[in-house]
């Protein structure tokens, strides 16, 4: 059952919050050993909270839109009193002393947090293999990756261990796993959802967003977490428009742009075919298709890796073994303590990115690399501004391929970086985008369609996604997970 069905069942008392929670915990216990979506399962506090909600419900209290609904939270989002490790050895013992704003908001809406999900260390990766707690497996094929970095959240929703989850997206980290695992996954507009309590990776790109089984559940979660927060200076003070309201309206006459640059020779043939079918389906729903060009698209990955790693080198300077985290034993003097703590605490991809960022910011290279990247970023944003003069939304593939095999891209960092070729532009421009399932590959792997809208137009974005989802009926073709068939 999805978020809405669970909430309704709880409301009419056909099932208690404790029963809902227990059933999901039981499924997590059964499936998680194979999938490894969770770093930590918070069974006892979750059941305690569910019982509390049942008591309040029985006493006649009016409860929020997520009351009794189990939700998983990516392990780079701070949860007071519950470990938040970022998938890193350096934060293995870290217990936050406050809740992230999104956590506070879903708790106020009545959600029951059942666990913290696995991720690439500090959200750096496209496969959830760079985790100190082992890789997450794709529920549709346990020999393949779930995508990353929010692979744990996507796999948890796809395998129905939870009806919904929160993740974070810096260059595609919500949408790519959404595509690989076959679940709707939204990166909201930069500034629309507070980043307070999200452990920083690249602050000008990071954004928290929801995963759900359906687009209407994604819209409900977005409405719950979005809004101004004085604790985040980049949080937008704009009044919030509900995405749930008007979600089911028609998309007749809506202008849909298809940028040719996203259909390069690197694109897998099956992905291309299923995205083209999606374009036809949107047209049959009354959308007007407009083929257009966004000429700076191919510069996105180099720009992204310069901007993101420069911000990484600065943000991750705080892990020095002084205020939190694991301090290395060997520490003769202060500098030696810094070096041994950081060298033994960080994994190799995180260190590689810190090195690249430190290099591009160092004296003599700043103008050629970091400053250049910030200028190209302006050109990429301009591509979006110009496209949105003529169309309401854009559609592209989410990922160039279906889910790849575990280990396949670990030896060559650049190959892994190319997984974000369709998603990183969106973070550089700050616009919102959703991945919705659009078909299956011959090997029964899900494929994703990415829909993009102008800043703060999530209601329109989700309306298109919802219309497509209803017409495509992806979930009807889904069938049981392979690991459940084995009996």
């Amino acid at each position: 059952m999805g978020v809405r069905e669970l909430r309704a069942a709880f409301e009419e008392r056909s099932v208690s919050a404790e029963e809902i929670c227990g059933a999901h915990l039981e499924r997590m216990e059964r499936l998680n050993p194979d999938i490894n979506a969770f770093i930590c399962i918070t069974a006892e506090p979750a059941l305690e909270r569910a019982r509390d909600l049942d008591r309040r419900h029985a006493a006649g209290e009016t409860l929020g839109p997520l009351a009794g609904v189990p939700i998983a939270v990516k392990d780079n989002i701070c949860t007071r009193g519950t470990h938040t490790t970022c998938g890193s050895k350096i934060l293995a013992n870290h217990v936050p002393i406050y809740d992230a704003t999104v956590v506070r908001r879903i708790l106020e809406a009545g959600a029951v947090i059942v666990g913290k999900t696995n991720l690439d260390e500090f959200a750096m990766g496209s496969s959830t293999e760079n985790s100190a707690f082992g890789p997450t497996k794709n529920p549709w094929d346990l020999e393949r990756v779930p995508g990353g970095s929010s692979g744990g959240s996507a796999a948890a929703v796809a395998s129905e261990m939870v009806p919904a989850a929160l993740g974070s997206d810096t260059g595609g980290s919500i949408r790519l796993p959404g595509s690989f695992c076959g679940v709707p996954a939204l990166k909201p507009t930069y500034g629309s959802v507070s980043r307070y309590g999200l452990v920083a990776f690249a602050s000008s790109l990071d954004q928290i967003g929801p995963f759900g089984k359906t687009v209407d559940d994604v819209a409900l979660l977005l409405d719950t977490i979005t809004g101004h927060d004085p604790c985040d200076s980049t949080s937008s003070p704009q009044p919030v428009q509900s995405s749930v309201k008007g979600l089911e309206e028609s998309i007749t006459g809506l202008r849909v742009g298809v940028p040719s640059e996203y259909f390069s020779s690197a694109l897998d043939e099956e992905v291309e075919r299923s995205v083209e079918e999606a374009v036809k389906l949107l047209e049959s729903l009354g959308a007007v298709i407009n083929r257009l060009s966004m000429p700076n698209t191919r510069f996105a990955i180099p720009t992204y890796y310069l901007v993101a790693t420069a911000e990484t080198s600065s943000n991750l300077a705080r892990y020095d073994g002084v205020r939190y985290g694991v301090r290395a034993k060997e520490n003769r003097d202060l500098r030696g303590m810094y070096r041994s703590t950081r060298s033994s605490g960080f994994g190799s991809e995180v260190k590689r990115r810190i090195m690249l960022g430190t290099y591009s910011l160092s004296s003599g290279y700043y103008d050629d690399y970091y400053l250049k990247a910030m200028k190209v970023r302006s050109l990429i944003r301009r591509d979006f501004d110009e496209a949105f003069r003529n169309v309401d939304v854009l559609v592209t593939p989410t990922a160039p391929t279906p889910a790849f095999r575990l280990g396949e891209k670990m030896a060559r960092p650049l190959d892994m970086y190319m997984s974000d070729i369709c998603t990183a532009t969106i973070n550089l421009a700050g616009v919102p985008a959703i991945s919705v399932p659009c078909g299956w590959s011959r090997q029964r792997l899900p494929l994703g369609l990415q829909i993009i809208s102008p800043h703060f137009q999530e209601p329109k974005l989700l309306r298109v996604a919802r219309a497509y989802e209803k017409a495509r009926c992806f979930r009807d073709e889904q069938g049981p997970l392979p690991l459940e068939k084995k009996g």
Partner: protein
């Protein structure tokens, strides 16, 4: 763009990181590959283009400076690897 072993060592020192000799060599080759790929940006003419460093307009987040409760000393020290009194403890800085 070829990045030398000496340069990799200099960057590692700036970043407070240490590597084995084999790792330094791997990094030199991997960073060189990545920088080669990034060279593609140089063909793009960006003269007259303003850099984008932030997504939002600066200044809109300013507010009155009001005194409010903050975290307690115990909470602030709760995750410290070592502390004493109201302080974070670190290894000796001056010999």
């Amino acid at each position: 763009m070829k990045i030398t072993l000496d340069e990799v060592r200099r960057i590692a020192a700036l970043a407070h990181l240490d590597f084995s000799n084999k790792e330094y060599e791997e990094l030199a080759s991997q960073l060189s590959d990545i920088l080669d790929y990034i060279e593609a940006l140089k063909e793009l003419d960006t003269s007259g283009v303003n850099p984008t460093s932030h997504q939002t307009e600066s200044g809109e987040a300013l507010r009155e400076d009001e005194v409010r409760p903050s975290l307690s000393e115990a909470e602030v020290l709760a995750n410290a690897p070592e502390h004493g009194g109201a302080h974070f403890k670190v290894p000796k800085v001056i010999g």
